[in-house]
Protein backbone atom coordinates (compact mmCIF):
# COMPACT_ATOMS: atom_id res chain seq x y z
CA UNK A 1 0.00 0.00 0.00
CA UNK A 2 1.28 3.46 -0.92
CA UNK A 3 0.43 6.27 1.47
CA UNK A 4 1.04 10.00 1.13
CA UNK A 5 1.32 11.72 4.48
CA UNK A 6 0.79 15.48 4.37
CA UNK A 7 1.83 17.19 7.57
CA UNK A 8 2.95 20.68 8.59
CA UNK A 9 4.68 19.17 11.64
CA UNK A 10 7.78 17.17 10.85
CA UNK A 11 11.37 17.18 12.10
CA UNK A 12 13.56 19.53 10.09
CA UNK A 13 16.98 21.19 10.29
CA UNK A 14 15.65 24.15 12.20
CA UNK A 15 13.30 22.23 14.53
CA UNK A 16 14.65 18.68 14.78
CA UNK A 17 12.05 17.77 17.44
CA UNK A 18 9.01 19.22 15.66
CA UNK A 19 6.45 16.55 14.84
CA UNK A 20 8.53 13.59 15.94
CA UNK A 21 5.23 11.90 16.86
CA UNK A 22 4.15 12.09 13.19
CA UNK A 23 7.50 10.62 12.18
CA UNK A 24 7.02 7.74 14.62
CA UNK A 25 3.50 7.08 13.36
CA UNK A 26 4.86 6.91 9.81
CA UNK A 27 7.61 4.51 10.92
CA UNK A 28 4.92 2.36 12.54
CA UNK A 29 2.98 1.84 9.29
CA UNK A 30 6.18 1.41 7.28
CA UNK A 31 7.16 -1.33 9.68
CA UNK A 32 4.08 -3.30 8.68
CA UNK A 33 4.40 -2.90 4.96
CA UNK A 34 3.21 0.55 3.85
CA UNK A 35 5.31 2.62 1.45
CA UNK A 36 5.12 6.21 2.60
CA UNK A 37 5.89 9.52 0.94
CA UNK A 38 5.81 12.62 3.14
CA UNK A 39 4.82 16.11 1.98
CA UNK A 40 5.49 18.97 4.37
CA UNK A 41 3.78 22.29 3.57
CA UNK A 42 6.01 24.88 5.20
CA UNK A 43 4.95 28.40 6.11
CA UNK A 44 6.99 31.13 4.45
CA UNK A 45 5.74 34.29 6.18
CA UNK A 46 4.49 36.93 3.76
CA UNK A 47 3.19 40.45 4.31
CA UNK A 48 -0.53 41.04 4.79
CA UNK A 49 -2.75 40.98 1.74
CA UNK A 50 -2.79 38.64 -1.20
CA UNK A 51 0.49 37.13 -2.37
CA UNK A 52 1.46 39.02 -5.58
CA UNK A 53 0.81 37.08 -8.77
CA UNK A 54 4.40 37.67 -9.84
CA UNK A 55 5.64 35.66 -6.83
CA UNK A 56 3.34 32.77 -7.70
CA UNK A 57 4.46 32.93 -11.32
CA UNK A 58 8.10 32.86 -10.24
CA UNK A 59 7.43 29.75 -8.12
CA UNK A 60 5.74 28.10 -11.08
CA UNK A 61 8.59 29.05 -13.40
CA UNK A 62 11.19 27.59 -11.04
CA UNK A 63 9.14 24.41 -10.43
CA UNK A 64 8.72 23.96 -14.18
CA UNK A 65 12.43 24.34 -14.84
CA UNK A 66 13.65 22.24 -11.91
CA UNK A 67 11.04 21.02 -9.39
CA UNK A 68 13.64 20.14 -6.77
CA UNK A 69 14.96 23.69 -6.87
CA UNK A 70 11.65 24.80 -5.37
CA UNK A 71 10.67 21.67 -3.46
CA UNK A 72 13.54 20.26 -1.43
CA UNK A 73 13.46 16.47 -1.49
CA UNK A 74 15.25 14.53 1.25
CA UNK A 75 14.71 10.76 1.13
CA UNK A 76 10.95 10.15 1.06
CA UNK A 77 10.16 13.70 2.26
CA UNK A 78 9.38 16.77 0.15
CA UNK A 79 9.31 20.26 1.67
CA UNK A 80 6.71 22.56 0.10
CA UNK A 81 7.23 26.32 0.50
CA UNK A 82 3.89 28.02 1.11
CA UNK A 83 3.72 31.83 1.21
CA UNK A 84 1.23 32.61 4.00
CA UNK A 85 0.13 36.24 4.39
CA UNK A 86 0.51 37.62 7.88
CA UNK A 87 -2.76 37.90 9.88
CA UNK A 88 -4.58 35.72 7.35
CA UNK A 89 -5.70 33.24 10.03
CA UNK A 90 -6.43 29.54 9.57
CA UNK A 91 -8.11 30.07 6.18
CA UNK A 92 -5.07 31.95 4.90
CA UNK A 93 -2.83 29.04 5.90
CA UNK A 94 -5.22 26.50 4.39
CA UNK A 95 -5.49 28.34 1.06
CA UNK A 96 -1.72 28.76 0.86
CA UNK A 97 -1.17 25.07 1.62
CA UNK A 98 -3.73 24.07 -1.04
CA UNK A 99 -2.08 26.21 -3.72
CA UNK A 100 1.45 25.10 -2.96
CA UNK A 101 0.47 21.43 -2.65
CA UNK A 102 -1.29 21.62 -6.04
CA UNK A 103 1.84 23.16 -7.57
CA UNK A 104 4.05 20.50 -6.01
CA UNK A 105 1.87 17.67 -7.34
CA UNK A 106 1.76 19.26 -10.78
CA UNK A 107 5.54 18.99 -11.09
CA UNK A 108 6.32 16.17 -8.65
CA UNK A 109 3.26 13.91 -8.83
CA UNK A 110 2.63 11.17 -6.31
CA UNK A 111 1.33 7.70 -6.93
CA UNK A 112 -0.32 6.97 -3.62
CA UNK A 113 -3.38 4.87 -2.96
CA UNK A 114 -4.43 7.06 -0.07
CA UNK A 115 -3.56 10.43 1.51
CA UNK A 116 -3.24 10.87 5.25
CA UNK A 117 -3.36 14.52 6.36
CA UNK A 118 -2.34 15.65 9.82
CA UNK A 119 -4.66 18.37 11.19
CA UNK A 120 -8.16 18.98 9.85
CA UNK A 121 -7.31 22.62 9.25
CA UNK A 122 -5.26 23.76 7.46
CA UNK A 123 -3.90 20.50 6.02
CA UNK A 124 -6.96 18.24 5.66
CA UNK A 125 -8.96 20.97 3.93
CA UNK A 126 -6.00 21.85 1.68
CA UNK A 127 -5.56 18.22 0.59
CA UNK A 128 -9.29 17.94 -0.14
CA UNK A 129 -9.07 20.90 -2.53
CA UNK A 130 -6.23 19.20 -4.41
CA UNK A 131 -7.62 15.63 -4.47
CA UNK A 132 -11.39 16.01 -4.13
CA UNK A 133 -12.19 12.39 -4.89
CA UNK A 134 -9.24 10.37 -3.56
CA UNK A 135 -9.35 8.45 -0.29
CA UNK A 136 -8.44 10.82 2.53
CA UNK A 137 -7.70 10.06 6.18
CA UNK A 138 -7.31 12.98 8.58
CA UNK A 139 -5.72 12.89 12.04
CA UNK A 140 -6.41 15.73 14.44
CA UNK A 141 -3.84 16.62 17.10
CA UNK A 142 -3.92 20.37 17.48
CA UNK A 143 -4.40 22.15 20.77
CA UNK A 144 -5.70 25.32 19.09
CA UNK A 145 -8.97 24.01 17.69
CA UNK A 146 -10.91 26.72 19.52
CA UNK A 147 -9.03 29.35 17.48
CA UNK A 148 -10.03 27.56 14.28
CA UNK A 149 -13.68 27.38 15.34
CA UNK A 150 -13.76 31.07 16.29
CA UNK A 151 -13.20 31.94 12.64
CA UNK A 152 -16.52 31.38 10.85
CA UNK A 153 -15.01 30.47 7.46
CA UNK A 154 -12.42 28.19 9.02
CA UNK A 155 -15.11 26.45 11.07
CA UNK A 156 -17.16 25.83 7.92
CA UNK A 157 -14.07 24.54 6.12
CA UNK A 158 -13.29 22.25 9.05
CA UNK A 159 -16.82 20.82 8.95
CA UNK A 160 -16.50 20.31 5.19
CA UNK A 161 -13.26 18.37 5.78
CA UNK A 162 -14.77 16.33 8.59
CA UNK A 163 -17.69 15.34 6.34
CA UNK A 164 -15.68 14.63 3.21
CA UNK A 165 -12.78 12.69 4.75
CA UNK A 166 -13.11 8.94 4.33
CA UNK A 167 -11.86 8.49 7.88
CA UNK A 168 -11.31 11.06 10.62
CA UNK A 169 -9.10 10.32 13.61
CA UNK A 170 -8.48 12.08 16.92
CA UNK A 171 -5.43 11.18 18.99
CA UNK A 172 -7.40 11.37 22.25
CA UNK A 173 -11.03 11.29 23.36
CA UNK A 174 -10.45 14.73 24.83
CA UNK A 175 -10.11 16.07 21.27
CA UNK A 176 -13.12 14.06 20.15
CA UNK A 177 -15.16 15.67 22.93
CA UNK A 178 -14.15 19.07 21.58
CA UNK A 179 -15.37 18.14 18.11
CA UNK A 180 -18.57 16.72 19.58
CA UNK A 181 -19.26 19.92 21.50
CA UNK A 182 -18.72 21.94 18.34
CA UNK A 183 -20.51 19.85 15.71
CA UNK A 184 -22.81 17.49 17.60
CA UNK A 185 -22.97 13.73 18.07
CA UNK A 186 -24.22 12.85 14.60
CA UNK A 187 -21.48 14.67 12.71
CA UNK A 188 -18.67 13.18 14.77
CA UNK A 189 -20.08 9.65 14.79
CA UNK A 190 -17.50 8.65 12.19
CA UNK A 191 -14.54 9.94 14.26
CA UNK A 192 -12.21 7.26 15.61
CA UNK A 193 -9.50 7.38 18.26
CA UNK A 194 -6.03 6.31 17.24
CA UNK A 195 -3.42 7.62 19.65
CA UNK A 196 0.09 8.83 18.94
CA UNK A 197 2.90 6.32 19.14
CA UNK A 198 4.87 6.28 22.38
CA UNK A 199 7.99 4.43 21.42
CA UNK A 200 9.43 2.73 24.46
CA UNK A 201 12.29 1.06 22.60
CA UNK A 202 14.78 3.48 24.13
CA UNK A 203 12.88 4.10 27.36
CA UNK A 204 14.24 1.82 30.02
CA UNK A 205 11.93 0.83 32.85
CA UNK A 206 13.43 1.19 36.31
CA UNK A 207 11.70 0.18 39.51
CA UNK A 208 12.52 2.93 41.94
CA UNK A 209 11.44 1.17 45.14
CA UNK A 210 10.63 4.08 47.43
CA UNK A 211 11.00 7.22 45.33
CA UNK A 212 12.56 10.17 47.11
CA UNK A 213 10.68 12.78 45.09
CA UNK A 214 13.74 15.00 45.38
CA UNK A 215 14.63 15.12 41.72
CA UNK A 216 11.89 16.73 39.63
CA UNK A 217 11.95 16.78 35.86
CA UNK A 218 9.93 18.73 33.31
CA UNK A 219 10.14 18.03 29.55
CA UNK A 220 8.51 20.52 27.22
CA UNK A 221 8.37 24.08 25.97
CA UNK A 222 9.14 26.95 28.30
CA UNK A 223 5.89 28.82 27.76
CA UNK A 224 3.15 30.06 30.01
CA UNK A 225 0.65 27.76 28.28
CA UNK A 226 2.70 24.76 29.38
CA UNK A 227 2.35 25.82 33.01
CA UNK A 228 6.03 26.68 33.47
CA UNK A 229 5.35 29.61 35.82
CA UNK A 230 3.24 27.39 38.06
CA UNK A 231 5.91 24.69 37.85
CA UNK A 232 8.65 27.01 39.11
CA UNK A 233 6.47 28.38 41.90
CA UNK A 234 5.44 24.88 42.95
CA UNK A 235 9.03 23.70 42.95
CA UNK A 236 10.11 26.67 45.04
CA UNK A 237 7.33 25.93 47.58
CA UNK A 238 8.32 22.27 47.69
CA UNK A 239 12.00 23.06 48.08
CA UNK A 240 11.26 25.60 50.82
CA UNK A 241 8.67 23.64 52.78
CA UNK A 242 9.48 19.98 52.30
CA UNK A 243 12.77 19.14 50.60
CA UNK A 244 15.57 21.73 50.63
CA UNK A 245 17.84 19.40 48.65
CA UNK A 246 15.32 18.91 45.85
CA UNK A 247 16.26 19.77 42.27
CA UNK A 248 14.36 20.54 39.08
CA UNK A 249 15.75 19.58 35.66
CA UNK A 250 14.12 21.34 32.74
CA UNK A 251 14.50 19.78 29.29
CA UNK A 252 13.31 22.18 26.60
CA UNK A 253 13.47 25.79 25.61
CA UNK A 254 11.18 28.72 24.98
CA UNK A 255 10.42 32.36 25.64
CA UNK A 256 10.26 31.92 29.44
CA UNK A 257 13.87 30.74 29.73
CA UNK A 258 15.14 34.06 31.09
CA UNK A 259 12.17 34.35 33.40
CA UNK A 260 12.88 30.87 34.78
CA UNK A 261 16.52 31.75 35.48
CA UNK A 262 15.63 35.05 37.14
CA UNK A 263 12.83 33.57 39.22
CA UNK A 264 14.98 30.69 40.43
CA UNK A 265 17.82 32.98 41.49
CA UNK A 266 15.52 35.52 43.08
CA UNK A 267 14.00 32.77 45.24
CA UNK A 268 17.33 31.27 46.20
CA UNK A 269 16.88 28.04 44.23
CA UNK A 270 19.04 29.03 41.25
CA UNK A 271 21.52 26.25 41.97
CA UNK A 272 18.70 23.70 42.22
CA UNK A 273 17.18 24.42 38.80
CA UNK A 274 19.05 22.95 35.84
CA UNK A 275 18.04 24.20 32.39
CA UNK A 276 19.52 21.69 29.98
CA UNK A 277 17.82 23.03 26.81
CA UNK A 278 16.21 20.94 24.10
CA UNK A 279 17.57 17.40 23.83
CA UNK A 280 17.30 14.76 21.11
CA UNK A 281 14.82 12.05 21.85
CA UNK A 282 17.65 9.53 22.14
CA UNK A 283 18.82 11.32 25.32
CA UNK A 284 15.43 11.60 27.02
CA UNK A 285 15.86 8.19 28.64
CA UNK A 286 18.96 9.22 30.59
CA UNK A 287 17.17 12.28 31.98
CA UNK A 288 14.16 10.17 32.97
CA UNK A 289 16.42 7.60 34.64
CA UNK A 290 17.98 10.19 36.92
CA UNK A 291 14.65 11.74 38.01
CA UNK A 292 12.22 10.83 40.80
CA UNK A 293 9.08 12.49 39.44
CA UNK A 294 7.91 14.22 36.27
CA UNK A 295 5.84 17.31 36.99
CA UNK A 296 3.80 18.66 34.09
CA UNK A 297 1.46 21.53 34.95
CA UNK A 298 0.11 22.49 31.54
CA UNK A 299 -3.58 23.41 31.71
CA UNK A 300 -4.34 22.14 28.22
CA UNK A 301 -2.94 19.10 26.42
CA UNK A 302 -4.39 17.11 23.55
CA UNK A 303 -2.16 14.13 24.29
CA UNK A 304 0.97 14.57 26.41
CA UNK A 305 3.72 12.26 25.16
CA UNK A 306 6.32 13.24 27.77
CA UNK A 307 4.06 12.09 30.63
CA UNK A 308 3.55 8.71 28.94
CA UNK A 309 7.28 8.30 28.34
CA UNK A 310 7.91 9.05 32.00
CA UNK A 311 5.30 6.48 33.04
CA UNK A 312 6.98 3.96 30.73
CA UNK A 313 10.26 4.65 32.52
CA UNK A 314 8.61 3.86 35.86
CA UNK A 315 8.53 7.48 36.94
CA UNK A 316 5.55 8.86 38.87
CA UNK A 317 3.86 11.74 37.05
CA UNK A 318 2.11 14.73 38.57
CA UNK A 319 -0.08 16.59 36.08
CA UNK A 320 -3.12 18.82 36.00
CA UNK A 321 -6.53 17.78 34.73
CA UNK A 322 -5.61 19.17 31.30
CA UNK A 323 -7.61 16.92 29.00
CA UNK A 324 -4.72 14.85 27.69
CA UNK A 325 -3.66 13.52 31.09
CA UNK A 326 -6.99 12.04 32.14
CA UNK A 327 -7.63 10.86 28.59
CA UNK A 328 -4.33 9.02 28.08
CA UNK A 329 -3.40 7.71 31.53
CA UNK A 330 -6.29 8.68 33.83
CA UNK A 331 -7.22 5.02 34.26
CA UNK A 332 -3.82 4.21 35.79
CA UNK A 333 -3.55 7.41 37.86
CA UNK A 334 -3.56 5.57 41.17
CA UNK A 335 -0.58 3.47 40.25
CA UNK A 336 1.30 6.01 38.13
CA UNK A 337 1.00 9.35 39.85
CA UNK A 338 -1.50 12.07 40.46
CA UNK A 339 -3.80 14.27 38.35
CA UNK A 340 -4.70 17.49 40.14
CA UNK A 341 -7.44 20.05 39.47
CA UNK A 342 -6.56 22.93 37.17
CA UNK A 343 -7.14 25.58 39.82
CA UNK A 344 -4.81 24.16 42.42
CA UNK A 345 -2.22 26.72 43.55
CA UNK A 346 1.55 26.15 43.76
CA UNK A 347 1.52 25.71 47.55
CA UNK A 348 -1.13 23.01 47.29
CA UNK A 349 0.75 21.28 44.45
CA UNK A 350 3.87 21.14 46.65
CA UNK A 351 1.78 19.73 49.49
CA UNK A 352 0.21 17.10 47.23
CA UNK A 353 3.61 15.95 45.99
CA UNK A 354 4.83 15.74 49.58
CA UNK A 355 1.76 13.64 50.36
CA UNK A 356 2.50 11.34 47.43
CA UNK A 357 6.02 10.93 48.80
CA UNK A 358 4.58 9.82 52.12
CA UNK A 359 2.50 7.02 50.58
CA UNK A 360 4.79 5.35 48.04
CA UNK A 361 3.10 1.97 48.46
CA UNK A 362 0.14 3.13 46.42
CA UNK A 363 2.34 3.45 43.33
CA UNK A 364 2.80 0.45 41.06
CA UNK A 365 4.88 1.63 38.08
CA UNK A 366 4.70 -1.73 36.31
CA UNK A 367 1.00 -1.12 35.67
CA UNK A 368 1.82 2.13 33.87
CA UNK A 369 4.58 0.58 31.77
CA UNK A 370 2.29 -2.26 30.69
CA UNK A 371 -0.46 0.21 29.80
CA UNK A 372 1.88 2.32 27.61
CA UNK A 373 3.30 -0.73 25.85
CA UNK A 374 -0.14 -2.13 25.14
CA UNK A 375 -1.96 1.02 24.11
CA UNK A 376 0.66 3.20 22.43
CA UNK A 377 3.19 0.80 20.91
CA UNK A 378 4.20 1.34 17.27
CA UNK A 379 2.70 -2.03 16.41
CA UNK A 380 -0.64 -1.28 18.00
CA UNK A 381 -0.93 2.20 16.41
CA UNK A 382 0.45 1.04 13.06
CA UNK A 383 -2.03 -1.85 12.88
CA UNK A 384 -4.95 0.44 13.74
CA UNK A 385 -3.96 2.86 10.97
CA UNK A 386 -3.44 0.13 8.37
CA UNK A 387 -6.89 -1.25 9.19
CA UNK A 388 -8.38 2.18 8.57
CA UNK A 389 -6.44 2.63 5.30
CA UNK A 390 -7.58 -0.77 4.05
CA UNK A 391 -11.18 -0.06 4.98
CA UNK A 392 -11.10 3.29 3.11
CA UNK A 393 -9.64 1.67 0.02
CA UNK A 394 -12.18 -1.13 0.08
CA UNK A 395 -15.14 1.23 0.36
Amino acid sequence: MRVDVVTPWYPNRHSPYSGTFVEKTIAAVQEIGATVEVEVPTIYPAPTGPVPVIVKEAMEQLAGADPEALFEVVGNTTWIPSPVPSLSGPMGRARAFAESLALKRQFLPTSSDITHAHLGMPTGWAVRQVVPHSPLVVTEHQSTLSDVFRDELARAAYLETLRSANAFICVSDFLLDQLRAEFGDETVAKVEIVPNVVDTTNIQFRHRGTPEFESWIYIGGLTEKKGVIKLLKSFWEYNRQFAPRSTLTIVGDGPLRTWVEKFAYSKGVGDSVDLVGPQPHSRINEYLQSADVLVHLSEFETFGISSLEAIAAGLPVVALRNGGAESTWGDVEKSSGMILGKDVDPGAIATEIARLRSEPSRLDPLVGRAMVEKRYSPQSVGTALMTIYERCLAA
Binding site: P47, G49, M59, E72, L256
Partner: protein, 158 residues
Protein backbone atom coordinates in the same frame (compact mmCIF):
# COMPACT_ATOMS: atom_id res chain seq x y z
CA UNK B 1 30.78 31.20 -3.64
CA UNK B 2 27.07 31.06 -2.81
CA UNK B 3 24.62 33.83 -2.03
CA UNK B 4 21.66 33.54 0.34
CA UNK B 5 18.94 36.12 -0.33
CA UNK B 6 16.59 36.94 2.52
CA UNK B 7 15.32 40.52 2.38
CA UNK B 8 12.85 39.99 5.19
CA UNK B 9 14.55 38.24 8.06
CA UNK B 10 11.62 36.16 9.38
CA UNK B 11 13.34 32.94 8.29
CA UNK B 12 16.79 33.96 9.47
CA UNK B 13 17.11 30.93 11.74
CA UNK B 14 16.14 28.55 8.91
CA UNK B 15 18.67 30.29 6.66
CA UNK B 16 21.54 29.89 9.14
CA UNK B 17 20.63 26.29 9.91
CA UNK B 18 20.66 25.51 6.20
CA UNK B 19 24.10 27.02 5.72
CA UNK B 20 25.44 25.33 8.84
CA UNK B 21 24.26 21.94 7.60
CA UNK B 22 25.76 22.28 4.12
CA UNK B 23 28.48 19.76 3.47
CA UNK B 24 31.99 20.96 2.68
CA UNK B 25 31.49 24.31 4.48
CA UNK B 26 30.92 26.42 1.35
CA UNK B 27 31.23 30.18 1.76
CA UNK B 28 28.04 32.22 1.71
CA UNK B 29 27.15 35.87 1.44
CA UNK B 30 23.82 36.72 3.02
CA UNK B 31 21.94 39.60 1.41
CA UNK B 32 19.37 41.04 3.80
CA UNK B 33 17.66 44.30 4.68
CA UNK B 34 17.88 43.30 8.34
CA UNK B 35 21.43 42.22 9.30
CA UNK B 36 20.58 42.55 13.00
CA UNK B 37 18.39 39.46 12.72
CA UNK B 38 21.51 37.35 12.35
CA UNK B 39 23.22 38.66 15.51
CA UNK B 40 21.76 36.04 17.77
CA UNK B 41 21.84 33.22 15.24
CA UNK B 42 24.31 30.41 15.45
CA UNK B 43 27.64 31.65 14.12
CA UNK B 44 28.94 28.27 13.06
CA UNK B 45 28.13 28.71 9.38
CA UNK B 46 30.69 30.18 7.07
CA UNK B 47 28.97 33.41 6.04
CA UNK B 48 29.31 37.13 5.76
CA UNK B 49 26.39 39.53 5.76
CA UNK B 50 25.77 42.33 3.28
CA UNK B 51 23.06 44.82 3.93
CA UNK B 52 20.66 45.61 1.13
CA UNK B 53 20.24 49.39 1.02
CA UNK B 54 17.44 49.73 -1.42
CA UNK B 55 16.99 53.49 -1.18
CA UNK B 56 13.41 54.52 -1.67
CA UNK B 57 11.98 51.01 -1.52
CA UNK B 58 9.98 50.11 1.59
CA UNK B 59 12.44 47.34 2.34
CA UNK B 60 14.23 49.83 4.59
CA UNK B 61 11.09 50.04 6.64
CA UNK B 62 10.86 46.25 6.83
CA UNK B 63 14.30 46.18 8.40
CA UNK B 64 13.29 48.86 10.87
CA UNK B 65 10.05 47.07 11.77
CA UNK B 66 11.85 43.79 12.28
CA UNK B 67 14.55 45.40 14.41
CA UNK B 68 11.92 47.11 16.56
CA UNK B 69 9.98 43.88 16.92
CA UNK B 70 13.13 42.05 18.01
CA UNK B 71 13.98 44.71 20.58
CA UNK B 72 10.43 44.58 21.93
CA UNK B 73 10.47 40.77 22.24
CA UNK B 74 13.91 40.83 23.88
CA UNK B 75 12.58 43.30 26.44
CA UNK B 76 9.23 41.53 26.96
CA UNK B 77 10.95 38.18 27.50
CA UNK B 78 13.70 39.45 29.72
CA UNK B 79 12.11 37.97 32.77
CA UNK B 80 9.66 40.51 34.17
CA UNK B 81 6.01 39.64 34.68
CA UNK B 82 5.12 43.07 33.28
CA UNK B 83 6.94 42.21 30.04
CA UNK B 84 4.93 39.01 29.73
CA UNK B 85 1.68 40.88 30.24
CA UNK B 86 2.59 43.50 27.62
CA UNK B 87 3.50 40.78 25.10
CA UNK B 88 0.28 38.95 25.84
CA UNK B 89 -1.72 42.21 25.31
CA UNK B 90 0.13 42.83 22.05
CA UNK B 91 -0.79 39.34 20.87
CA UNK B 92 -4.45 40.03 21.65
CA UNK B 93 -4.36 43.24 19.61
CA UNK B 94 -2.74 41.32 16.75
CA UNK B 95 -5.49 38.69 16.99
CA UNK B 96 -8.14 41.41 16.78
CA UNK B 97 -6.56 42.72 13.59
CA UNK B 98 -6.48 39.23 12.10
CA UNK B 99 -8.49 38.93 8.93
CA UNK B 100 -8.89 42.68 8.65
CA UNK B 101 -7.36 44.77 5.93
CA UNK B 102 -5.78 47.34 8.21
CA UNK B 103 -2.35 46.85 6.72
CA UNK B 104 -1.82 46.98 3.00
CA UNK B 105 1.13 45.49 1.18
CA UNK B 106 3.48 48.22 0.02
CA UNK B 107 6.37 46.21 -1.32
CA UNK B 108 7.00 46.07 -5.06
CA UNK B 109 8.39 42.58 -5.62
CA UNK B 110 8.83 42.80 -9.38
CA UNK B 111 12.39 42.65 -10.75
CA UNK B 112 12.07 46.37 -11.49
CA UNK B 113 10.87 47.07 -7.95
CA UNK B 114 13.73 45.00 -6.56
CA UNK B 115 16.29 46.59 -8.86
CA UNK B 116 18.68 47.25 -5.95
CA UNK B 117 18.74 43.52 -5.18
CA UNK B 118 19.41 42.70 -8.82
CA UNK B 119 22.18 45.33 -8.99
CA UNK B 120 23.76 44.02 -5.81
CA UNK B 121 23.86 40.50 -7.23
CA UNK B 122 25.50 41.86 -10.41
CA UNK B 123 28.08 43.64 -8.25
CA UNK B 124 28.86 40.52 -6.18
CA UNK B 125 29.05 38.37 -9.29
CA UNK B 126 31.53 40.72 -10.93
CA UNK B 127 33.80 40.55 -7.86
CA UNK B 128 33.63 36.78 -7.61
CA UNK B 129 31.46 34.47 -9.71
CA UNK B 130 28.35 33.28 -7.87
CA UNK B 131 27.88 29.51 -8.04
CA UNK B 132 24.38 29.28 -6.68
CA UNK B 133 21.73 31.52 -5.10
CA UNK B 134 19.58 30.29 -2.23
CA UNK B 135 16.30 32.17 -1.75
CA UNK B 136 14.83 32.12 1.76
CA UNK B 137 12.20 34.86 1.22
CA UNK B 138 9.82 33.95 -1.60
CA UNK B 139 9.16 37.64 -2.27
CA UNK B 140 12.76 37.90 -3.53
CA UNK B 141 12.25 35.11 -6.03
CA UNK B 142 11.09 37.15 -9.08
CA UNK B 143 14.14 39.42 -8.96
CA UNK B 144 16.56 36.60 -8.24
CA UNK B 145 15.13 34.44 -11.05
CA UNK B 146 15.52 37.35 -13.44
CA UNK B 147 19.17 37.69 -12.40
CA UNK B 148 19.74 33.93 -12.51
CA UNK B 149 18.28 33.82 -16.03
CA UNK B 150 20.39 36.71 -17.28
CA UNK B 151 23.65 35.36 -15.87
CA UNK B 152 22.90 31.64 -16.10
CA UNK B 153 23.21 31.04 -12.37
CA UNK B 154 21.37 28.28 -10.54
CA UNK B 155 18.59 29.41 -8.14
CA UNK B 156 17.01 27.28 -5.41
CA UNK B 157 14.43 28.01 -2.72
CA UNK B 158 15.19 26.69 0.74
Amino acid sequence: MNVAVITRSLRAAACVEYMASASGSPRYIILTADPGAFDSERQTANFEIMRLSPGSLPIDRIGLVMATRRKFLRWARSGSRFGELVESAARRVKALLRGGSVLKPVDDVSPAGRRPLYDRLVEINSDEPIEQIFVFDLFDLPAVLAFGGDFDINVVVR
